[in-house]
Symmetry: C2
Subunit: 247 residues, 2 copies
DNA sequence: CGCTTAGTTGAGTTCGTTCAACGACTGTGG
DNA sequence: CCACAGTCGTTGAACGAACTCAACTAAGCG
């Protein structure tokens, strides 16, 4: 289920560097980050990487694959909070605030870059620019959560679904994380738990989008056929963004 | 509507320092923050402090009073994202990511501490501990948004209302921000826009809580009479927290 | 005293839920 | 190679939670 791998990939050859929307490191930063990294982790599909209530000693950056963050109520009701894609920082909350308040599970096999959370203060101390980047990443996550909150709170079922799929498609496309069939690797249950809807109604809602030829189900995933159409239904236009940092 | 006041209160006599759940500054930090601060702002009740789409040059910390962050859809549907209380940082997102993606409005008269956002990099450069604190604050906001997302997505109307009021009461009590009647200063419209419900249904839901003697409406606000009862309905227990920083 | 704001309540409608069943596909063990 | 269980998507029917529309009360204020 879990495989811990030794430092196989040097930070110099970080797979994220090839995406030009990430900001580049200076040589100095690269040297520090290389030391900050303690290894890599490879997780199968369906693995619980972090568990609510636990107190992980690690901090991760996703290098490849899909995952999601979620919380559950006592009786099992689940809410997916956000999805994880390459470049996303995992476990920052618990690194700073203590025990995890949400869980993390993978949707595909995932490769993670592992850092020791004890070294965080050193990062801020010695490399202010990287500390700034961590804050930037946290602020970005906050902004995404704001959008999701607006969506769940105020959009209708079909608008929510359209927003979510447009949002995920955009991110995934940019990071080359669509599967062989050009699809987003999740089930209708995941979508239901993200939108705050029942699985039956989610199915009927997605059917409407499929009937409009905006999406299609293929190969364990959802293919987006009409990004503009979805954006229009959702009334959504993406916020402008500058080059994003990663650690 | 707006009043810009010169630096009337020295950081040495910061009104937030009296709350012992905030972490104390070192002398060195205090000196820097004093320079970072450019003044104070006093806003009336109902003032729009920051507007979605704008690009403010400032960053604020709430010193006194209540406010809220919100987003709206094109047709006017409004979603309240979170509430602002003393110690909260306002405008961090736009400081780092560019233009504001949400608005901020006051619920009571509010005093804000004003910083120049251009100086943020200097803060990270010269005072790593403060940079770390900013990240901490961002991570805390993220955690709160996670909770709200769970609530709106998966709790029933009465559970949502109970959660929100318990949550706000807890925060307000700790910061001594309940009004004369011991009430939270908001209207049912605010609650509706936070819970993602219509105002009519919000009213009927709050009525049920009032009938159970858990809350009461007084003096333009909602008084919490039975915190434990609300927590139980919501199935909510607060996450443990350490001393929190502020800037 | 009329005007506005905020909370309350009833009636009818709509959106989303629950229950239940079924088909397509995948993987597994006899 | 087939039987079987498990997962995932699909659909219909009945129900219920939340919505809209509409009207009314109480309090605050010029």
């Amino acid at each position: 289920m879990w495989v811990q791998v030794r430092k196989t990939v040097s930070c110099r050859a970080c797979p994220l560097a090839k995406f030009n929307h990430f900001r580049a490191f200076s040589d100095e930063e690269l040297a520090f980050v290389s030391g900050f990294k303690t290894g890599e982790l490879v997780a199968d599909r369906g693995t619980t990487v972090l568990l609510e209530g636990s107190d992980s000693a690690h901090l991760y950056t996703v290098l490849d694959g899909w995952g999601f963050r979620f919380k559950t109520l006592n009786d099992g009701r689940r809410q997916i909070l956000n999805y994880l894609l390459p470049g996303d920082l995992v476990g920052l909350q618990s690194s700073l605030l203590g025990e995890m308040q949400h869980s993390v599970e993978t949707l595909t096999p995932m490769t993670l870059c592992v850092f020791e959370r004890e070294k965080m203060p050193v990062l801020f101390e010695k490399h202010a620019s990287l500390g700034f980047d961590v804050t930037w990443i946290a602020a970005r996550e906050e902004r995404i959560l704001d959008e999701h909150l607006l969506s769940i709170g105020r959009r209708s079922a079909i608008e929510r679904a359209a927003y979510l799929l447009a949002f995920l498609y955009r991110r995934a496309k940019m990071l080359n994380q669509l599967n062989g069939q050009n699809a987003i690797p999740l089930t209708q249950q995941h979508i239901a738990d993200t939108l705050g809807l029942s699985i039956v109604h989610t199915n009927k809602t997605l059917r409407k989008l499929a009937d409009k030829k905006m999406i299609a189900w293929r190969d364990r995933g959802c293919a987006v056929l009409d990004f503009d159409g979805l954006s229009e239904i959702a009334g959504w236009t993406e916020a402008p963004s500058t080059n994003r940092p990663f650690i």
